[in-house]
Symmetry: C2
Subunit: 161 residues, 2 copies
Amino acid sequence: MPPPSDRPLNERTNFLLSQLGFHTAMRFTERLAALDIQPSHFGLLMHLAQGEGRSQQQLAEALGIHRKVMVGLLDDLEQRGLAERRRHPADRRAHAIHLTDAARTLLPQARAIADAEEEDLLTGLSGEQRRQLLGLLQHMAENSGNPQGVHPGLRRNPGSP
Amino acid sequence: MPPPSDRPLNERTNFLLSQLGFHTAMRFTERLAALDIQPSHFGLLMHLAQGEGRSQQQLAEALGIHRKVMVGLLDDLEQRGLAERRRHPADRRAHAIHLTDAARTLLPQARAIADAEEEDLLTGLSGEQRRQLLGLLQHMAENSGNPQGVHPGLRRNPGSP
DNA sequence: TATTGTTATACTCTATAACTATA
DNA sequence: TATAGTTATAGAGTATAACAATA
């Protein structure tokens, strides 16, 4: 077994990923505040834009969170007039979640903020370097065991029954 | 101004960085638990290994945290027999922080855990790809405004007087 | 009996303020 | 008056447990 390396933190890929990941998430959060939403709301809106009418349970599973957390997220979105809980056509226990027109207006603005954040992060890198980086990160993400688009920071309850 | 892109999350560099950064930090935390320390303790031990005898205030500034947080970190390390608060030779208000022999034994084990975590993250990437990735991340880290080796997750108090 | 959504409670982490002993 | 270290307190966020309505 080789001896452990004594590289400084800024020469460790794992540290740099954690540092940069936290940095960009924090800055994205600050920028999204202008729209009065948070990254978790953005992720949920993005998901709803791909298909409305799903139950809270289905949405919670897609985002990798506990259904109790989904209650709070939807409370927030409903309060801001961005989502609606409608009657589920097939299951009277469940709600069918839909976007509002306000959400369809807001979503492009939120996407533009995400684009701007990414652009700031990639400043100084060539198009070729950006493609390389994206490919390497995608490779690692697939290898990590996290489902596509599921952020472990919104984590599922460990002992979910 | 171009329209905002509607790429999915796993095609956004900023999302992938946040996802992978959180993932590796979480897994590193779990692995370090075998040594009964956390990543913030690891960072502090790494820093102390580069030079002992500094004051808590100096250490707090180097790690980018508030001095009040340093109190808790050093309480933890002292309780585990990994650090000592000695009398500061020049300032009777301050402490001079030193590592113990136990810490010098533990630090290589912690480094080995960091190495193992990095190796798992980079599985499947060639040596050339690893060098490319490291260089790209270092470029972005320098561009981000975060001082070298300072993790924004251990963040300084916003309104520090 | 199991599932959907919800609420109440406790627990942990962080932030604000103030205190002491020195300088 | 300012600084090093510390403590007390309150607030935000998260986990545990239990609940009513429906399948």
